[in-house]
C-alpha cells in the first residue's frame, strides 16, 4: 500500500506543513487548510486532523466538528474514480434517481461507499451548475450530460481498464 511507504508519507507531511505555513497569518484559516490538506491526502483521516490540530493550535474536537459539518470533507477514502450523480432539482425532475439506481446496480455499492478494488466510489451531489444538460453525472472531472439509464454501461466501460 502506498500509504505505508515512508517517502511519500514524508512528502505529504511536508506539503501539509507548507499549507499551514501559507495560511499562518490569515484569519479563519482552518477551512482553506482543510481543503488543501484533503487535496494532498485525498481525505481527512483522524491522523491528519491531529496533525493539523497540533500545528495550528486548534482543539481536535473543533476540527472534527468542522470536518463533519461540511459535506465536502470526507473521513473515508475515495475511489480512484469518483462517480457523483447530480441530485439537484433540475436533474431530479429529469429522472436522476433512475440514473443513480442504475449506477448502484452496476457498481454494486451504495452512496458514500467505495468499491472493494478501490476503483469506484459513488456519491450524490447537489447541482454542479450544468443543469442545461440534466441529468448529469461526473466521474472525476469529466461531466456526462443528457443521460438516460441506458448510457451508464457505456460510460463505465471507459473506466474499466484504466
Amino acid at each position: 500500500m502506498s500509504s505505508n511507504c515512508c517517502a511519500c508519507v514524508d512528502e505529504k507531511e511536508r506539503k501539509l506543513q507548507e499549507i499551514i505555513e501559507k495560511y499562518k497569518n490569515i484569519n479563519g484559516a482552518l477551512i482553506p487548510v482543510l481543503h488543501e490538506a484533503q487535496d494532498v491526502y485525498g481525505y481527512l483521516p483522524m491522523s491528519v486532523q491531529k496533525k493539523i490540530s497540533e500545528k495550528m493550535n486548534i482543539p481536535l474536537s473543533e476540527i472534527y466538528g468542522v470536518v463533519t459539518f461540511y459535506t465536502q470533507f470526507s473521513l473515508k477514502p475515495k475511489g480512484k474514480y469518483k462517480v457523483s450523480t447530480c441530485m439537484g432539482t433540475a436533474c431530479y425532475v429529469k429522472g436522476s434517481n433512475l440514473i443513480l439506481d442504475k449506477l448502484k446496480e452496476k457498481l454494486g455499492i451504495s452512496v458514500g461507499d467505495c468499491s472493494e478494488d478501490g476503483r469506484f466510489s459513488l456519491e450524490a451531489c447537489r447541482c454542479i451548475g450544468a443543469c442545461g444538460l440534466a441529468p448529469v453525472i461526473m466521474i472525476n472531472d469529466d461531466v456526462y450530460g443528457k443521460l438516460s439509464p441506458d448510457d451508464i454501461d457505456k460510460i463505465l466501460d471507459k473506466y474499466k481498464d484504466l
Binding site: 477551512i31 433540475a90 447541482c127 451548475g129 450544468a130
Partner: protein, 598 residues
C-alpha cells in the same frame, strides 16, 4: 493593437465545457492555422451565453451568427465555408434560418429576443480572463466616476434611487442596506459577497462569476468606497472550480492595474479582496452562517438581531450582497438610476436572471424585466414543454420556495406577487414540471434536501422536518392516512413560527404550496393508493397481459428477484409481493406484453 477581421466566440461556461467546448476551441485553432488565417481571425473564450442545452455554442462576428451543438467534425466546415468563403453554415445555425436577415441569428432567436440583459450584459460577449475586454465595454468606468466625482453618500443615494433590491432571495432594498452599514458604528467595516448559490438547479451567479468576474469586483470596490470599508471577501462554492479560477485571475489583473490595493486610481482609497471557498453546506448561504463559515467555524446561523450590518464578520459591520445584486451596480452608476427605474415593475426595478431547467425546451439562463409573466418565460423564451406534454407547475425559490400551478401561469414574476401565491422569488432557480412529475414526490424531494442540510442547531428544524419527511415517505409509500395531511399542515405552521433561521422557517413551503394547489394528488395517494403521475414506485404494479404473453420466459430470466413464474403455453405471472418494481421485465419482453399500471 492587432486588427482582426473576424472573431470566433467560443463558450467556456460550465455547460459547454462539459459538452467539450475546449476540444472545439483546439480544433478551431488548428483549422485557422491550416487555412492560414490565424492572424486575421481571433478566437475568444467567453462565459455562458445562457443556451447551455444547445451547447457547445460558437458565435462568429462581425455577422453575429450563432452556431449551436457544434461538434469537432463541424469546425472544418465553419472555418472553410464561413471564415474563408464568407458563406454561413445554415444547418448549424440557431433560430429562424428562413428569416430575411439570417446573419443576425442571435437577434432572431426567440430565446434572446425577449430578454433584457443587464446583469448578464457581458456574459458571452467578453473574454472573462482579459481585463482589457471588460474595460473596453465601459468596465471600471463606474468605479472611476464614484472615486473621482462622487462622495460616498452620493453613491448610496444613487443606488437607493435606482430601487435595486437584493437578488439573493429576500429582495431587501440594496441602497438601504448600504446606508445602514455606512451608518453603523465602527471604523473597520467589511464588504462580503454571497456566491454560495445553494439552490440546487440554479446557476445564475455561477455564470456571472465565470462570464464577467470583473463586474463583481468593480461593484465590491464601489461598495467599499460607499460604506467606508477596505476589505472584502467573496464566499464562493467549492463546487465551482471554473468560477474560482476566473475570480483569482480577475483579482490578480485588477491588482496589476491598480484597481485593487493601495491608493486606487491615485485616490487615497484602498481596498483588498480575498476569496473564501465554501465546503458544501446549504445553510452557509444564510448570511449569519456564511459569516461564521468565513471565520473558519461550523457554519451555524445565529439569531438576528444583531444584523450583519451592525455586527458581522469578526464583529465588524458587514455589508453582504448577492453576486447578481452586485453585478447591477456598475451599470446603474454609468447609465444612471433614472434609466434603471424605467425597467421592471412598479415595486421592483430592473431585471432578474433565472436558471430555467427541468421539462422545458430551452433550458438555460434567462434575464427578464421583473414583472414578466411566467407564460412569457416558459413559452416565448423557453420554447414550451418538450414532447407535446402539458405544463403542470413551476418551482421557484428552490427548497425554500413553492410551486406556481398552470392556472396561475399569467402571474407577473415579482417579489410580492409570488409571495401572495405561496411561492417566492428566490435566487432565480425556475424548475418546470410537466404532467409526468408527481407533486407529492417533488415535495418529498425538497424535504429530503432540507433534512439533510439542516444544521441541527434548533429542534423545530432538526426534528420537525424529519417528522414531515417521514409522513411524506408514508404517503408516497402507499401507507398514508387522511390525518397525515392534517399533521403536515400543523407541523408546517409550528416549524415556520419557531425555527431559528431562514432554512427552517422556509422548509415547509414546498409542502404547503403543493398542498394548496395539488391536494387532490395527495388524496389520490392516501385514499386510492394511486400516484396519478406514475412516479411513486410503491404504487406502481407491473403486470403481464395474459393474451399478449407468448410464454417465452425472458422476463423471468431477467427478473433480479425471481418474482416471475410460469411455464410453457401458460401466461407468466408476477408475484406482486416479491416484485421490487425495477422495470427490467417490461424492458426485456420482446412481445410488449408487460405493462405499468398506475
Amino acid at each position: 493593437m492587432d486588427y482582426f477581421r473576424a472573431h470566433v466566440l467560443i463558450c467556456g461556461g460550465t455547460g459547454c465545457t462539459s459538452s467539450h467546448s475546449p476540444k472545439i476551441q483546439q480544433e478551431f485553432a488548428d483549422q485557422l492555422e491550416k487555412n492560414n488565417i490565424s492572424k486575421e481571425v481571433k478566437i475568444v473564450t467567453t462565459g455562458c451565453f445562457g443556451l447551455c442545452a444547445q451547447g457547445p455554442i460558437v458565435v462568429v462576428y462581425p455577422e453575429g451568427a450563432m452556431y449551436t451543438m457544434v461538434r469537432v467534425e463541424d469546425v472544418k466546415e465553419i472555418v472553410e465555408e464561413h471564415l474563408v468563403k464568407g458563406r454561413l453554415v445554415r444547418r448549424l445555425m440557431a433560430g429562424d434560418t428562413e428569416a430575411e436577415d439570417t446573419s443576425k441569428s442571435l437577434e432572431n432567436v426567440g430565446f434572446f429576443k425577449n430578454q433584457v440583459r443587464i446583469a448578464l450584459r457581458n456574459c458571452g460577449t467578453i473574454n472573462p480572463e482579459n481585463i482589457d475586454e471588460y474595460i473596453a465595454y465601459d468596465g471600471y468606468k463606474a468605479l472611476q466616476m464614484a472615486l473621482t466625482e462622487m462622495k460616498p453618500e452620493d453613491v448610496i443615494a444613487e443606488i437607493k434611487k435606482s430601487g435595486l433590491r437584493g437578488r439573493g432571495g429576500a429582495g431587501f432594498p440594496t441602497g438601504l442596506k448600504w446606508e445602514l452599514t455606512a451608518k453603523a458604528e465602527g471604523d473597520d467595516k467589511i464588504i462580503a459577497c454571497n456566491a454560495d448559490e445553494g439552490d440546487p438547479g440554479a446557476f445564475m451567479d455561477r455564470s456571472v462569476l465565470e462570464g464577467d468576474p470583473h463586474s463583481l469586483i468593480e461593484a465590491m470596490i464601489i461598495a467599499g468606497y460607499a460604506i467606508g470599508a477596505n476589505q472584502g471577501y467573496i464566499y464562493v462554492r467549492a463546487e465551482y472550480p471554473i468560477a474560482v479560477k476566473r475570480l483569482n485571475i480577475a483579482i490578480e489583473q485588477a491588482k496589476d492595474y491598480g484597481l485593487l490595493g493601495k491608493n486606487i486610481l491615485g485616490t487615497d482609497f484602498s481596498f483588498s479582496l480575498e476569496l473564501r471557498l465554501g465546503a458544501g453546506a446549504f445553510v452557509c448561504g444564510e448570511e449569519t452562517a456564511l459569516i461564521t463559515s468565513i471565520e473558519g467555524k461550523r457554519g451555524e446561523p445565529k439569531p438576528k438581531p444583531p444584523f450583519p450590518a451592525v455586527r458581522g464578520l469578526w464583529q465588524k459591520p458587514t455589508l453582504l450582497n448577492n453576486v447578481e445584486t452586485y453585478a447591477n451596480i456598475p451599470i446603474i452608476l454609468t447609465k444612471g438610476a433614472d434609466w434603471f427605474t424605467t425597467i421592471g415593475s412598479e415595486k421592483s426595478k430592473g431585471t432578474k436572471v433565472f436558471a430555467v431547467g427541468g421539462k422545458i425546451n430551452n433550458t438555460g439562463l434567462v434575464e427578464v424585466p421583473i414583472g414578466t409573466t411566467l407564460r412569457e418565460v416558459v413559452y416565448d423564451i423557453g420554447g414550451g414543454i418538450p414532447n407535446g406534454k402539458k405544463f403542470k407547475a413551476a418551482q421557484t425559490g428552490g427548497p425554500s420556495g413553492g410551486c406556481i400551478p398552470a392556472s396561475l401561469i399569467d402571474t407577473p414574476i415579482d417579489y410580492e406577487t409570488l409571495k401572495e401565491i405561496g411561492s417566492m422569488m428566490g435566487s432565480g432557480g425556475l424548475i418546470i414540471m410537466d404532467e409526468d412529475n408527481c407533486m407529492v414526490d417533488i415535495a418529498k424531494f425538497f424535504l429530503e434536501f432540507t433534512v439533510e442540510e439542516s444544521c441541527g442547531k434548533c429542534p423545530p428544524c432538526r426534528i420537525g422536518t424529519k417528522r414531515m419527511l417521514e409522513i411524506l415517505e408514508r404517503i408516497t409509500g402507499g401507507k398514508g392516512e387522511m390525518e397525515d395531511i392534517e399533521k403536515l399542515e400543523i407541523l408546517s405552521k409550528n416549524i415556520i413560527s419557531s425555527a431559528l433561521c431562514g432554512l427552517g422557517q422556509s422548509a415547509p413551503q414546498p409542502v404547503l404550496s403543493t398542498l394548496r394547489y395539488f391536494k387532490d394528488e395527495y388524496i389520490a395517494h392516501v385514499k386510492d393508493k394511486k400516484c396519478p403521475a406514475g412516479v411513486c414506485k410503491s404504487m406502481m404494479r407491473y403486470v403481464i397481459q395474459a393474451d399478449l404473453c407468448k410464454s417465452c420466459g425472458i422476463c423471468a430470466k431477467n427478473c433480479p428477484v425471481g418474482a416471475i413464474t410460469g411455464e410453457k403455453k401458460v401466461p407468466y405471472v408476477i408475484d406482486q409481493d416479491k416484485c421490487i418494481k425495477c422495470g427490467v421485465c417490461m424492458e426485456k419482453c420482446p412481445f410488449k406484453a408487460i405493462f405499468k399500471n398506475v
